[in-house]
Symmetry: C2
Subunit: 371 residues, 2 copies
């Protein structure tokens, strides 16, 4: 079919656009609602939809359902595939976790084998972007730049607060007259402390690195060859597999030798062809119960409720997720109260970034079945 | 049988001793573990036993099971009787609530009709006294004074802290050479503010009024005649019922006209024959989740657990009552987390004295079935 098309007109950008959804994380910071076999992308916190379903909705604004892919671990594959309603052929199941560089690289290799002209929008399964129209417009604009200039494009979110939980992008010179709004990336900045984050916001020229990447498969694989030789070596047998489908043995061997690095560190920080498109839509990585609460509009005086009924007396600033049974708060503030049916969490929202410790403690105390 | 006995030797004090357990309250401050049909005396917080069962254990140290009585409201009668394993004849079911003066008066009238020489230990169903041996010894000592001197005896707990949640007894002169340790009551003091409570503790001569009363049926009924004519009038048809068993119609009529007053206010504060026996055993009225937590040994650093399993990380000073499903606390302090299966409460312990508001709010919002 590709042959038939390429013999006629060149396919449009949208016809060559694929969305790669990275769903590698477990989301232990959302215990007890996220579990080993029920990872964070399945959390139904996006107006009743799961984060994954909302991500796929955004993907479908850019491309057809048959151009959507998921990369995930084997322990989550069945559940994620069910939720995404994808055929097994478009769920790339990693035999072990190797962070996003290998995940994005494998997806590029796999898709390039069947669509060498593919343009890939690579993003996380578990972020929240309420304005999907603005999101799709920005991705398509980035895709045009990636397609025409061969750049690795990362969307950069204009910061609205001195957030210390995100990495930043230092904006460089304009990309050029053909690409209005796009800029070169001067450098990537690790999560800053509070003082630096405030300075970034004051000085301007810094964007949040949202992990939304747009590149052609060809450009990414080329930059991997140049910037990340170890990764390139691991990917080689996958690239040469017929139609990109490697045997389990070949896949396992490739993953064993792959470095475990984020794609930012492995490639983007080293490449000279990285651009950014500053955008202003609301975005969150929904990293903790606290940030979820904020995303859902928690105010100091208010309370955010998910699931079943809740009643509040002399209480404010809490997030409640009931399992159907009524939850009553009395005289409490700043808590996450999460009932998952078989376990209940009461946590201070401000400390929810450390919730992993609870999961570890449960495992140490022989209650792994709850994690 | 009584005739046969009285024709022979006079019965001993212990043979004439009855225990009257007042179980009139609902205990809304223990929601969601106490409910309309599951009142506070049924809470299983006394080493796995209910408060009522522990109270009956103490009663059985003083007298035989057939001399134990319960006075309660009709909405709780079935559940309390089941827990106490008492025959219906010894469960005095009040048609409406009229506070403790009427409850104690009716019990005295009922028991006097079948045992005119009865000595009554009248106490609450839902207090906690860990040392039942000391408790029984004190009651028997008080019973001897009540029996021999006709006094209305109230046990007075030596205060261990400037508690503002209890009424106090101002100790008067020694009762007399025949009754070492017993004192006249100079006056009853309403719950004091913090400054007064501290002064009471500093000056000495003040005891907590624990609502543990010892009198002969005859003396109480006599003092009711003298000090509480309205109450006496209400009791008259009950006293003249054959063997003290009034018809439902007579009972309802008596209760309709009875004043709703505590026995302290209706009689003890007015009588000139009130004595107190200062005691030092540990006692609590277990009035709130906070006082229950304290009774169960909650320290600032610790956590008290009832019911199922619980896990704590970076948390202290909490009371957890699980319904079997694990409860996990993370980074929280000073909370009551109470899972009752069909409803969950998360409350600040320090505010648990106002928990009634939650029950009211549930009723106002049409969720009376949860109360």
């Amino acid at each position: 079919m590709r042959g038939a098309l390429s013999a006629g007109r060149r396919r449009t950008l949208r016809e060559r656009l694929h969305v790669v959804v990275l769903a590698g994380g477990a989301g232990e910071r959302f215990w007890p609602r996220s579990r080993r076999h029920h990872p964070k992308p399945l959390l139904a916190v996006a107006d009743g939809k799961s984060l994954l379903a909302a991500t796929l909705d955004r993907a479908h604004r850019m491309t057809t359902p048959d151009h959507v892919w998921i990369v995930c671990g084997h322990e989550h594959a069945a559940a994620l595939r069910r939720e995404a309603r994808l055929p097994a052929s478009r769920v790339l199941v990693e035999p072990v976790r190797r962070n996003t560089a290998m995940a994005a690289g494998w997806a590029a290799a796999r898709i390039a084998a069947i669509d060498p002209e593919a343009v890939l929008v690579t993003l996380a399964a578990d972020h929240r972007v309420p304005d999907s129209a603005a999101f799709a417009r920005a991705c398509l604009r980035g895709a045009r730049a990636a397609d025409e200039a061969g750049a690795l494009v990362t969307l950069g979110i204009r910061p609205t607060r001195p957030e210390t939980g995100y990495g930043y992008i230092r904006v460089g010179a304009a990309a050029g007259p053909g690409f209005p709004g796009l800029h070169r990336v001067r450098r990537f900045v690790e999560k800053p402390d509070s003082a630096r984050a405030k300075r970034f916001l004051r000085e301007g020229g810094f964007l949040w690195n949202a992990g939304i990447f747009i590149w052609t498969a060809r450009a990414l694989l080329g930059e991997i060859e140049r910037c990340a030789p170890e990764l390139a070596l691991a990917l080689r047998p996958l690239r040469s597999a017929p139609r990109g489908v490697a045997s389990p043995r070949v896949l396992a061997s490739a993953y064993r030798r792959a470095p475990a690095q984020p794609i930012d560190v492995a490639v983007l920080e080293k490449s000279r062809h990285v651009w950014t498109l500053p955008v202003s839509f609301r975005w969150s990585d929904v990293g903790t119960w606290a940030s979820l609460a904020e995303e859902l509009g928690l105010s100091r005086a208010g309370t955010v409720t998910l699931g079943g009924p809740a009643l509040f007396e002399q209480s404010a600033g809490n997030l409640v997720w009931s399992d159907g049974r009524p939850v009553v708060l009395f005289g409490v503030e700043g808590l996450a109260v999460v009932d998952a049916g078989d376990a209940l969490l009461v946590a201070r929202l401000a400390r929810s970034g450390d919730l992993r410790r609870v999961v570890e403690a449960l495992r140490h105390s022989g209650q792994e079945d709850l994690t």
